[in-house]
Structure formats: C-alpha cells, structure tokens
C-alpha cells in the first residue's frame, strides 16, 4: 500500500459496523493506520443508527451484513437516503444482499485490506450535510 492510497483515506470519517469485536477492532486499527477516522465500531443496528444520528456527518460506511441475529440493511437504508456511500462485508457472498442494495460494492470475509482500501478510495464523495 503506497502513500497515494493512504492519502485517499486521510481524514475520512468511516462508520464501521461489525458485531465481532476481534474483527471490528482489527479493521478499525488497519484503517486508522491509513489515516481514516473511525466512527464506531458499532455491533448492532441500533448502535449504528445512534452513531449516524448523533455523530458528525460521515464520508462512508463499512457494513457487516450479518449482525448476530439481525441484518444490517436498516442502516444501509438510512445511509442510502442520506447519500452516504457504503460497502458491505459478508461471509455469505453477495447473493444474500437484497435488491435495494445489491448494486453496492461488497467485500468477502476475511477482508483483504488492500482490496477494501481500493473500494473505499473509489467511492463517490458523500453529500455531506444531507
């Protein structure tokens, strides 16, 4: 990962939703090392929505599809409405992602950080303040 890649994440606020603590902390640290500012991590839909409502406007989000007994889609719905781009992480493959979100980019678990960073860097800029 060259500095050009790191530059693209520098200062960007990224919401991280992942229910497995060990994985969440690792992803957070990996992205922080590349200059991103992590919002969260949140382990449930409720916590994630609270962060979106309360926190500063976020630039992008990384959403784990399967959060224990619930799915992350309510969070994606809110982000879509606000024009915030998001990337799914899933251990099922993308066939599980339903229609309103099926065109969103996604990453297989275990996440390849370099691949994830390429996806995050290519996301359109969020319509801040929406």
């Amino acid at each position: 990962m060259g500095s050009a890649v790191s530059q693209s994440l520098a200062g960007r606020l990224i919401l991280l939703v992942e229910d497995e603590y060990v994985v969440a902390i690792d992803l957070a640290q990996s992205l922080e090392q590349l200059g991103a500012v992590i919002v969260g991590p949140a382990g449930s839909v409720e916590d994630a929505l609270a962060l979106i409502m309360a926190g500063p406007p976020i630039d992008a989000a990384l959403l784990d599809v399967n959060l224990g007994s619930e799915r992350v889609y309510p969070v994606a719905d809110v982000l879509q409405a606000r024009g915030v781009p998001y990337v799914f992480t899933t251990s099922y493959g993308n066939w599980i992602i339903p229609t309103p979100h099926s065109s969103a980019p996604w990453c297989e678990k275990p996440v390849n950080i370099a691949h994830l960073v390429r996806i995050l860097s290519s996301l359109p800029t969020a319509a801040k303040g929406a």
Partner: protein, 468 residues
C-alpha cells in the same frame, strides 16, 4: 374367414359334383393362409389345399382318401367329436370348429374353423381351418400384461394415470382417488387439474403442449392431499405406450417428492451456513493474527502467542461441532483450557472450578474461550499458577431468573507489588471491551495485592433464541 366361407358357399351352392372342381380349385389355391379341405359325408378327405398342407403337415397325396378324423385329437375322436361336428353342420348349415387340432408331427394348435355342408349333401363337406395359436398366445400375453399393469399401477405408491397426449385423462389409479379425494370420474378429461396448486396450473398445462412435441411429459408441481389439505410437491411424468407413431394412449405417474425437496432445501441452507461460519472464523483468525503481529516484539513471540490463541479457538470449535453448534457447557470450556496448559482437575490444590451447568451460545463461547485462554496464560506466566501457594478459583452462579450469569476469576496468594501491568494484555482487553461490546456483559477487573480478580456478568439468551 367369413369372406372365404361366403365364397365357398356360393361355389358349392351351384355344384352338384366334381364339375364344380374347376371353380373351386383357384379359390383353394389362392387362400393358402387357411387350410381348406373337402370330405365325403362320412369324413373321407377328397380335397386338400396348400394351406392345409402348410398348417397340418400332410401332403395332399398322403391324406386324400383317408379319414379327416386324423387331424382331431385322440380325446375328441374318442368322444365322437368329428361325427358330431358333421351332424351339427347338416342340421344348422354350419358348425363352428374351435378346438385343438393335431398336425402330422403330433403337435397341436388351436384352430378356429368352420364346417360347411355342400349344397349337394351327397358331395359331403368343406372345412376351413385357421391356426389361432399365435393370436391366442398374443391375446393371453396382452391380458397378462394388462393385469400386470393394473397390479403395478394400483400397488405402487405413485399416483398412476392414463391420458391422451393432450393431458386429458382417461383413467386414474385408486391411489389418485385416495390422495386427492377426487373420484376417477371427476378427474377425467382435465378435471384432475383441480387438485393441482392454482399457481402451478399454468405450467402444468403448458408442459402438456411441450409433451406433444417432445413425446415426453415432465413437471414438478404441487398436488393437494385430501387428508389435511396440504399441497405436496410431486414429480409427474408421462410417456406414450409403445413407440407407435402418434400414440394416443399415454401412461403417467405422480411421485411425492415433497420430503426430498425439503431435505434438499435444508441442505442448501446448511451449506450456506457452513460457508458463513468458515469465513467468519477465518476473519477472526486473520484479526487475531494481525493483532498478535502488532503486539509482538519478535517472530518467536508471535509464533508462541498466535499458536496458543489458535489452539484455544480450535478447542472451542471442536466443542461446538460436537454439539452441532447449539451450545457449549461453561465448565467443559474452562476445563479444556486449563487442561491444555497441564492444569485442571488433577491440580485440585491450586485450582477450584465450581458452578452449575451453563449452556453458552456459540458466539459468546468463542469470545469467552479466547479471554479465558489469555487469563490462563497470564496466570501461568505472572499470576497465581507461578507460585507454590498460589490459588486460582473460577466460580459462577446464575441469578434467580437463571438468565443472568455471574462468573468470578479469582487469583490469590501472590505478591502483586507492581500493581496494574503497564501493558494491557489481550486477555484484559477481551474481558473489558470484547465481552461488553458483543454481549453487553458487565465486567470488572481488579489488580488486588494478592492477585487478579475479575467479575463477568452477562445476560444469557433464552435457549430457543441462541444464534451463532
């Protein structure tokens, strides 16, 4: 047969004797498919055509002048059948001759024949005989094969039907009536379609159009069971009987594949679930690897730490697979961890493990196993288990409602003069942060003077809602 009988009657009607022979001869010669013979009133053969030679084996020269009784069976001869037949023919103008006849070589065949008196009664009779053995065997076989069909069709579990190539039914087996509660009468034509699920009817009919082109019918559709009204998946097939061109009669079966389909769907879910669990586990392994790598001062340290953590993860996975990923017993989890380090039940002086049976959901068990591994490793390196008089007690209880678990990890008998270690161990991080993050557990860690004290309080899910 009747045509020949008619022609012969016409010829014989005008005949008064041998003069008719000229007329009779071509007729006899042209009908070699039949044995045609003439005889005197007493049954002495006078005429014997090629058909008779072929069928009965005697040449004309051999038999003319001999008694026709030769071609009757000994039993019939003894019973006076030949004469009785002639008497009947004289009385009624004809006598049916349906009986076994005997060839020259002694073999028998079933004959369908007729005996006609000539107009000139003095001239005797004409007899026409056809071998019916083949036809009779064929008919017998047909009868047997139809019986076999009925037997099969009415005794196999499948619903059997006969149909036109259009799907219009002509017959349904008793199983169809029992399963659908619809009589054969109401099911004939397209009436059977009423038993098919409304959503599947269009496909079911469409497939019949296809079948007329391909010569084979196949569809999977739901058929309603009369007993409980359940629509059950069936595989319905039909094919024309024989391979005749444009066969009009088709036979089909409907096989109940409902349970098989359910199993297949369940299996697909299982495979997806397995894929999900495997990838999740790999994600955890990857994260632990990176975490261990960041905290390690040397490759040796990384190797030891990572291997230990991987083993702890492996142990809890093993327990989960033994219980089909339903739950893990807390005591078993703790014992396995201690035993992996050579501690445990045989080390009663040092270690106390006490508490009621607790079924941990898979995800909690995994994180708790990692935390327990770190605590045990620390206790062995710096804590109670390094001291001769050190004590470790792991005790737990459930609060009155049984859903609140309180676990205490308590080390005693050491001199912890240094207070809280400067570097926060992974174990402490898992307890202080991972358990609250994932399970809303409340945790307290205290570095007391005589050793580490740790309290974990967590809500247990209702048993039917455990979800990994």
């Amino acid at each position: 047969m009747h045509d020949i009988e008619q022609e012969l009657s016409n010829v014989s009607a005008g005949s008064t004797g041998p003069s008719s022979d000229a007329l009779l001869r071509p007729l006899l010669e042209s009908n070699i498919g039949f044995a045609i013979l003439a005889m005197t009133p007493s049954g002495i053969v006078t005429v014997w055509n090629a058909g008779a030679e072929r069928l009965l084996g005697y040449r004309e020269t051999e038999i003319v002048g001999k008694s026709v009784d030769l071609i009757f069976t000994p039993e019939d001869r003894a019973a006076g059948v030949p004469q009785a037949e002639r008497n009947t023919a004289l009385a009624n103008g004809r006598a049916a001759d349906e009986r076994w006849h005997v060839r020259r070589d002694g073999s028998r065949f079933w004959a369908d024949g007729v005996l006609l008196p000539l107009a000139n009664r003095e001239a005797g009779f004409i007899k026409i005989v056809q071998d019916l053995t083949e036809r009779q065997i064929t008919q017998q076989r047909l009868k047997e094969s139809e019986e076999l069909f009925r037997l099969l069709a009415t005794n196999i579990p499948q619903l059997v039907f006969r149909t036109k190539p259009t799907g219009e039914r002509t017959w349904g087996s008793p199983q169809w009536e029992i399963f659908t509660g619809r009589s054969v009468r109401t099911s004939t034509g397209m009436g059977w379609l009423e038993a098919v699920h409304p959503d599947d009817r269009e496909l079911t009919v469409m497939k019949w159009l296809e079948a007329q082109r391909t010569g084979e019918y196949y569809v999977e559709h739901r058929i309603q069971r009369f007993d409980d009204g359940e629509y059950r998946w069936h595989q319905t097939r039909a094919k024309p009987i024989g391979d005749g061109e444009a066969a009009e009669d088709w036979v089909g079966t409907s096989t109940d594949v409902h349970d098989m389909r359910r199993l297949r769907e369940a299996q697909e879910v299982l495979v997806a679930e397995l894929q999900h669990r495997t990838r999740n586990l790999l994600a955890i392994v990857q994260s632990i690897e990176r975490r261990t790598l960041r905290a390690s001062k040397s490759l040796e340290e990384f190797g030891t730490e990572f291997e230990g953590r991987l083993s702890a993860l492996g142990r809890v996975q093993g327990m989960l697979s033994r219980t089909s990923h339903v739950s893990v017993d807390l005591r078993e989890l703790i014992l396995a961890e201690l035993e992996a380090h050579g501690e445990g039940i045989e080390n009663r002086d040092h270690v106390t493990i006490e508490g009621p049976p607790i079924a941990l959901p898979p995800a909690s068990a995994q994180t708790l196993a990692l935390a327990l591994h770190e605590l045990t490793t620390n206790a062995l390196k710096y804590g109670a288990l390094t001291y001769a008089d050190g004590k470790l007690s792991i005790t737990w209880k459930t609060e009155p409602d049984k859903r609140q678990l309180v676990l205490l990890w308590c080390e005693r008998g050491i001199q912890l003069s240094l207070g809280r270690p400067e570097r926060r161990g992974y174990g402490l991080e898992l307890i202080e942060r991972a358990l609250p993050y994932q399970f809303h557990a409340e945790t307290e860690v205290e570095f007391a003077a005589d050793g580490l004290k740790c309290r974990i309080s967590a809500q247990l899910p209702a048993e039917d809602s455990m979800d990994g």
